[in-house]
Symmetry: C2
Subunit: 119 residues, 2 copies
């Protein structure tokens, strides 16, 4: 299994180095490997976690909830039901958020149309 330096993990995930360190500090990332000199080594699995976190953050999930999800995963296979539930509830919120965004976007376009008609 190949390993990547922090810079590469940052580049691939879109998180800053500081954010990666922060995520480890608060226990969102855990078990990140180290070289003998103490430098982080990210595995492909770590990167796929980061991809998931990117998805959840971009859709507005609070960090506390992402951490909850990560903890459930660490707890083992018996938590898959709860993990699924968490994601489903989040997806519902995202749907609601999308509807609101669309509705307000339409208002915005109307407002722009108003200016267009002015000249």
């Amino acid at each position: 299994m190949s390993g990547y330096p922090p810079s590469e993990a940052a580049r691939r995930s879109g998180f800053s180095l500081d954010t990666l360190r922060y995520y480890e500090k608060i226990g969102l990332l855990s078990g990140i490997g180290r070289t003998s000199a103490g430098r982080r080594v990210f595995t492909d699995e770590d990167l796929s976690w980061l991809v998931l976190f990117r998805c959840l953050r971009d859709t507005g999930m609070p960090i506390a909830e992402m951490r909850r999800y990560a903890e459930l995963s660490r707890a083992g296979d018996h938590t898959t039901g709860e993990r699924r539930e968490l994601l489903v509830r989040h997806a519902e919120r995202v749907e609601e958020q999308t509807r609101l965004l669309q509705r307000q976007y339409d208002h915005l376009r109307e407002k722009i149309n108003f200016y267009d008609r002015l000249g």
Copy 2:
């Protein structure tokens, strides 16, 4: 032209009383009327500003930019072009944001599907 107390403005706009006061304090709202005793009186025009602010906030516009828009409006009719530009640029950002949200929502659904297939 009818006037409404703060509680009514809050109810109709979805902003809290504190937020309404805050918006006036930072100059986003201006020229809000007062009774002789110093209580705010919101007009229909004030309410339509609040509806616009609601739209812009829900679509992620920073307050500083909303204030810029409000200032342009106060400056007079010669700023309609700039106001339109501001809204158009914002609409473009909203479109981008919507695409990202949709993309990540799809990822989320895939992840949920994965759990569904587990059991």
